[in-house]
């Protein structure tokens, strides 16, 4: 009896493989259908961007809770953010007039531009001279992870939508390797960088939600 069972199991292998392949093919085919995929992907992407912005806001608040007023004075102006060179729509009418692909490429550029700075932030967070150090560290790391996930999703989305990626030359560069030499300047730079990201994450979130509603305009819930 045992032998017969074993033989059945062995024989099953080939069968199982063929079944698995066919199933995966079917699933791919299902997933590859564009109409369903894009709106779902956009929905997923906007969820991540929403979370990203919420995290950055809460991290900013944590920093502000023990912020020494003098550091605020030392903070550079927001226009000094490295992504300020990236031209994005600044009001609704503008934003609604931008075609989807362009908008998506814009979003993707922003996300890509922040990959390295966020990595820096998460690495520098532990050495920060701040009482809420551990919380900041945790959140910074999660920030980094989420932005990476969003980047991957956007890549997928771009390939699905068939648009070409943004030209690499236009990507804003983040050249700094560290936040500063002394704790105060590190803290100040950390805070500044975070504020820049907070704004950009808001942009990303807004644009993705516009794209979401544009892809599925009859969505009764959100649009």
């Amino acid at each position: 009896a045992d032998a017969s069972v074993l033989s059945v199991v062995n024989g099953c292998d080939d069968l199982c493989v063929s079944v698995c392949v066919s199933v995966s093919v079917l699933m791919c085919a299902a997933m590859c259908s564009e109409a369903v995929g894009v709106s779902d992907l956009l929905d997923r992407a906007s969820q991540i961007s929403d979370k990203l912005h919420s995290l950055s806001t809460s991290l900013s608040n944590d920093l502000d809770s023990h912020f020494v007023p003098v550091t605020r004075l030392l903070m550079p102006r927001p226009s000094a953010c490295h992504t300020s060179s990236l031209q994005t729509p600044n009001d609704k009418d503008h934003a609604l007039r931008v075609p989807e692909t362009e908008l998506l490429s814009l979003v993707r550029s922003l996300v890509l531009a922040w990959t390295d700075p966020l990595a820096l932030l998460s690495s520098e967070a532990s050495a920060l001279d701040h009482p809420a150090n551990s919380i900041i560290n945790t959140k910074a790391k999660e920030l980094h992870d989420q932005s990476k996930t969003l980047g991957e999703g956007l890549e997928h989305l771009v390939s699905k939508m068939g648009s070409s990626g943004p030209s690499i030359s236009l990507l804003p560069l983040f050249e700094s390797n560290d936040l500063g030499q002394d704790p105060t300047s590190r803290l100040v730079n950390f805070h500044f960088l975070l504020s820049c990201f907070r704004r950009d994450s808001h942009k990303i979130d807004s644009f993705l939600k516009v794209l979401r509603c544009r892809a599925a305009p009859m969505n009764p819930d959100t649009c």
Binding site: S79, L96, R214, P217, D221
Partner: protein, 576 residues
Amino acid sequence: MLGPFRVLQLLLLNLFFHLLAEASTAGFTPPGKPKLTSCRSPEKETFTCWWDPGSDGGLPTTYSLYYRLENSETVYECPDYRTAGENSCFFSKNDTTIWVNYNITVVATNELGSNHSDSVEVDVAYIVQPNTPVNVTVAVKEDDQGPYVRVSWEKPPKADTSSGWITLVYQLRVKLEKERDWEEYDAGYQKVFKVFSPRSGGTYMVQVRCKPDHGFWSEWSNTSYVTVPDYLLKERYLWIVIGTISLVIFIILTWMINLKRNSVKHFLLPPVPGPKIKGFDKQQLKNGKAEDAFNALVIQGFLPASDYEDLLVEYLEVYDNDNQELVDGGKDLQDGLLKSKCMSDNDSGRGSCDSHILLMEKCGEGKEELPVEHPRPQEVVGKCSGPMEDLVANTAELNTSLVHTLAPRFSPSLPSQINKKGSPGTPTPISEKGEKQKRELHNSSPALSGYSHINNEFDMNGLVGKRDPAAPAFRSMEYVEVQKVSQQNVLLLRPLGPTPVQLAAEDYSKVKGVTSDNVLLLQSEQSRLRISDCQERGEQEESCPRQQHPQAGKLAIHLPSNVIQGGYVDSATMIY
């Protein structure tokens, strides 16, 4: 040359201006520092800033708002001071740029100077606070689980959610009118919300607000009221089923009790036995004709009044002879008969059985019962008199109590087993005692006494048997022997021969004594004849004393107190 009047005018003017100049500097100050209180954007397209003016220094003060965008140094002044009201600045769409810092300052100016507020950095993206939701409708709806409250609303008019520019989440809060605390519910992106299982008959207050995905909560909408009508709980079906089952059970129980009505009545209220007299017509009594009712009980021809004395006389034949002893026959037979009659009537109390005969009452003598066994019409004595009294006198001397026979009950019906034969009646056996010695009384068990006299003339209803026309009217008594007592307490009689009955000494029972509570103790060791022997011998010569079950040696006969008088015992009253 100025006249003095002119000089005076100048002086006055000078003074006036001087005063004016002083007045302007004394108590009037440059305006206080204004303060920007808040800036809000309801739809992420426009925004408004409000400030707090501060003191105006007593002079008319003007306020101006100046702003600067982050990248340029150009200072702009507020484009619209009016739209948003006092001390406000409204930035229209054209003047609004998102994701750009505004550096805003308010300057207060009056005659004496100006003052400017602290600068505030504002990014429109972070100050979004929508207006309250509109068209909040609250209604009570029904579904198969019962009623529920359905709340619906619409987004604030200016928020552009369809393009996705702004995404709103909603929240509502509900409370009963008389409660203190609100219950908050998150509705998410929906514009409809259902509150289930509302309080029956309660009035609810509902408010709704909204929030953009990253921004501030709006104000609560105006309160909407809704009253829930009274309704049964959704378990009403269960209650209906329970109610129906209870009703059915109740009906069944009622029907069962109805069927067993009598048993229940007997159980709860046991019947009190009441006197019932057979042949007694209550209706006649109610009609007021009591005599008729009583007369109905009287057996016609049974005991004519004229024969009353004869009966008595007949009965009172007392033999003086010592040897001659009279058997008290029939007394107990009759009694037994009567008793059998009694037994068949369940509702009769014993009193009716034991009711001593009308004769007794007529006699009026309470001393003893006169055993009138064989009523003979002619011989019935209307009153107690004569020999009867002698007997009474004689027997009074006797030490032993006499066992009298009991006159038969004048029951209209006798069991048909009684055979009537005409026979010369012999005197009622009365055991008598001589003056000197004790008479032994024949102690026959009353129920089984051997003989009974039956008058031919004993014309009772239902009596089977005919009159023997040959029988002399006078002595038409005959003896009947009790053959046996059937199971139903019916005495089976057989007629005896005409010979008088003589009893041996051993047929009598000696009364041993009378206890305090009227129990007659008899000695029974003397009777040896058994019932079976008696039967074998036939009924001719001897009486068959019917013994009761041989007992330890004594027979206890309970006598009611009214029987024992003057030493005479009326055996008819003995109850076995």
